[in-house]
C-alpha cells in the first residue's frame, strides 16, 4: 500500500471525513522545503447545522468550538506519521497559525482543499463540497512527502445560484463566481460581514467573543441537500 493510502486510512480511522493531497508548489507563502499539502476535512452534524437558524445557535456553537481540538489532533497525528517515515511535516494547528484582523491566513486551508480536489469556493467565499455543502471544517498539513495528488478543482459549481448572496444579512457577497485567480475580496467584503457578526455578538449571544452568523452555510442548497437527507 502506498504512503498516501496509509496516511488517508489512518486519518479516516481517527475521525476525518475526507482527506485530499495537493501540490502547492505554485501557491504563495508555501515553504519550498514542504511544497505538498494534506487537506483534512470533517463534516459538521446535521443537527448542528439546523441549529444555525435557531436563536442562540446552541448546538452549532458547541460543535464549532469542539471542531478545533479535533482538527488539531488529526493534523498532529498526520504530522507524526509522516515524521516517523522520515519526512518533514508541519501541521497548521490553531495555535501555530496567526490569523490577522482581516481573517486571511498566509496559506488558506480553503486553497489547499480546492487544490486537493475536495470542493470549490462558493459565491460566499465559503468552501463547498458536493456531499456536505459548507457543513465542513478544514485543516492542513504541509510536507515534503511524495503524495498521490488529487486533481485540483478550478471551477465553481454554483452556477447562477445566488441564494447566499440574497440571504446574507450583511450584504457582504458581491455575487462574482469564484475562479482560482480571484481574491477573496472580489467575492466577499469581510468588513460588512464583521459588522453583522458584531451585532450578533451583542444581541444574540451577549458575548463579544462569539462572532458567528453562518447564514451562508445554512442556506446553501449543497448544505441543505446534506442536512435534509
Amino acid at each position: 500500500m502506498s504512503l498516501s493510502t496509509n496516511l488517508k486510512e489512518l486519518l479516516i480511522s481517527k475521525g476525518a471525513t475526507e482527506v485530499g493531497f495537493a501540490n502547492l508548489k505554485e501557491i504563495e507563502n508555501v515553504p519550498s522545503d514542504m511544497p505538498n499539502g494534506i487537506s483534512i476535512l470533517i463534516k459538521l452534524s446535521k443537527e448542528a447545522i439546523k441549529s444555525i437558524d435557531v436563536k442562540g445557535k446552541k448546538e452549532y456553537l458547541k460543535e464549532y468550538d469542539n471542531s478545533y481540538p479535533i482538527l488539531d489532533e488529526l493534523a498532529l497525528k498526520g504530522e507524526e506519521f509522516l515524521k516517523n517515515k522520515g519526512y518533514k511535516a508541519y501541521a497548521l494547528t490553531k495555535e501555530r497559525v496567526s490569523v490577522p484582523d482581516n481573517k486571511t491566513t498566509l496559506i488558506p486551508f480553503k486553497t489547499v482543499a480546492t487544490r486537493s480536489g475536495l470542493g470549490w469556493i462558493g459565491k460566499s467565499a465559503l468552501f463547498i463540497t458536493p456531499k456536505y455543502g459548507s457543513a465542513v471544517r478544514l485543516i492542513t498539513i504541509l510536507t515534503n512527502a511524495p503524495l498521490d495528488f488529487n486533481k485540483p478543482i478550478t471551477a465553481s459549481l454554483c452556477g447562477m445560484c445566488r441564494i447566499c448572496q440574497d440571504n446574507c444579512p450583511a450584504d457582504a457577497i458581491t455575487g462574482l463566481t469564484w475562479n482560482p485567480k480571484l481574491e477573496r475580496n472580489d467575492l466577499f467584503e469581510y468588513k460588512k460581514c464583521l459588522n453583522v457578526l458584531e451585532e450578533l455578538a451583542e444581541n444574540e449571544f451577549h458575548n463579544p467573543n462569539v462572532k458567528v452568523c453562518s447564514k451562508c452555510i445554512s442556506v446553501c442548497p449543497n448544505t441543505q441537500r446534506y442536512t435534509e437527507k
Binding site: M160, R162, G175, L176
Partner: protein, 231 residues
C-alpha cells in the same frame, strides 16, 4: 432635437445600451457614399457572463446568439429611420456580413466603436469599454447622414495589465498594446484563438461555435462591471 439625438433615443428604446457616431472617412473599404457610422452596443447581462469564469457555458452562447439577433433588429430599425429621413443607410447585419477565413470583416465593428468613442481595443483584440469591460456585443450602421461624432479613442487604457494575455487558453495574444491603426494580427493570432475556442465550445457546451470568453471574464473592467451589476 437633433437627428443624432432622435436616432439614439430610438435605438436605446429598441434595446441598445450605448450608441455612438463615428466618421470613418478615409478608412479602408468605407464607401464614399456612406462615410459615417452608427456604432451600437449592447451590454452582456452580468449574471450570464458570471457563468464563464472557468469555461464557456451553453447559457452564455445562447445569450450571445440572442443578442446578435437583437442587434440585427436594431440595425434595421436604425437603417429604416435614416432612410425615411432621406439619407443613405445600411445596417451591417449578420446575414449581410461576409467574414473572411481569418474572421475579419471589411469594416470592423470594433473600428467604428473606437472611432465613436465607445471604447478601446484590449490586448486580446477585444473592444474594452470603461463601463462594461468586454462584456458587450456591437454592430454598425453605415450612412451619409450628418451625425454628432463622438471623440475617437486612439489609444489603449489597458496599461500594465496582462490578465487576458496570460490567461488565454489558446496562447493567442501577443501582449502588444493597441493604438489606432495597428493591425489586428499584431495583437493576436486568430487561428490559435479560433482553434482553442472551437475546442472549448464543443467540449464544454456541446455547441460548435467559436466562443471561449476567457479574455472577457478576466478583464478587470469586466470584473468591475460584474461586481457593480450583481449587487
Amino acid at each position: 432635437m437633433s437627428l443624432s439625438t432622435d436616432l439614439k433615443e430610438l435605438l436605446i428604446l429598441k434595446g441598445a445600451t450605448e450608441v455612438g457616431f463615428a466618421n470613418l472617412k478615409g478608412l479602408e473599404n468605407v464607401p464614399d457614399t456612406m462615410p459615417n457610422a452608427v456604432s451600437i452596443l449592447i451590454k452582456f447581462p452580468a449574471e450570464i457572463i458570471n457563468t464563464i469564469q472557468e469555461y464557456p457555458t451553453k447559457i452564455y452562447i445562447d445569450k450571445l446568439l440572442e443578442i446578435n439577433d437583437i442587434l440585427d433588429d436594431i440595425l434595421l430599425a436604425g437603417e429604416d429611420f435614416l432612410k425615411k429621413k432621406g439619407y443613405n443607410a445600411y445596417g451591417q447585419t449578420k446575414p449581410r456580413t461576409v467574414v473572411g477565413e481569418d474572421k475579419r470583416s471589411k469594416i470592423p465593428y470594433k473600428t467604428a466603436a473606437t472611432r465613436a468613442g465607445l471604447g478601446w481595443i484590449g490586448k486580446c483584440a477585444l473592444l474594452v469599454t470603461p463601463n462594461y469591460g468586454s462584456a458587450v456585443r456591437i454592430a454598425s450602421i453605415y450612412t451619409d447622414a450628418p451625425l454628432d461624432f463622438g471623440k475617437p479613442i486612439k489609444q489603449s487604457y489597458c496599461g500594465e495589465c496582462n490578465a487576458c494575455v496570460t490567461d488565454c487558453p489558446g496562447d493567442a495574444c501577443t501582449g502588444v498594446d493597441w493604438h489606432e491603426g495597428i493591425d489586428r494580427n499584431d495583437l493576436y493570432n486568430q487561428k490559435k484563438c479560433g482553434d482553442k475556442a472551437l475546442e472549448l465550445s464543443i467540449l464544454k457546451t456541446g455547441v460548435d461555435h467559436y466562443y471561449c470568453g476567457k479574455c472577457i471574464i478576466v478583464c478587470p473592467f469586466t470584473i468591475k462591471y460584474l461586481k457593480k451589476e450583481l449587487k
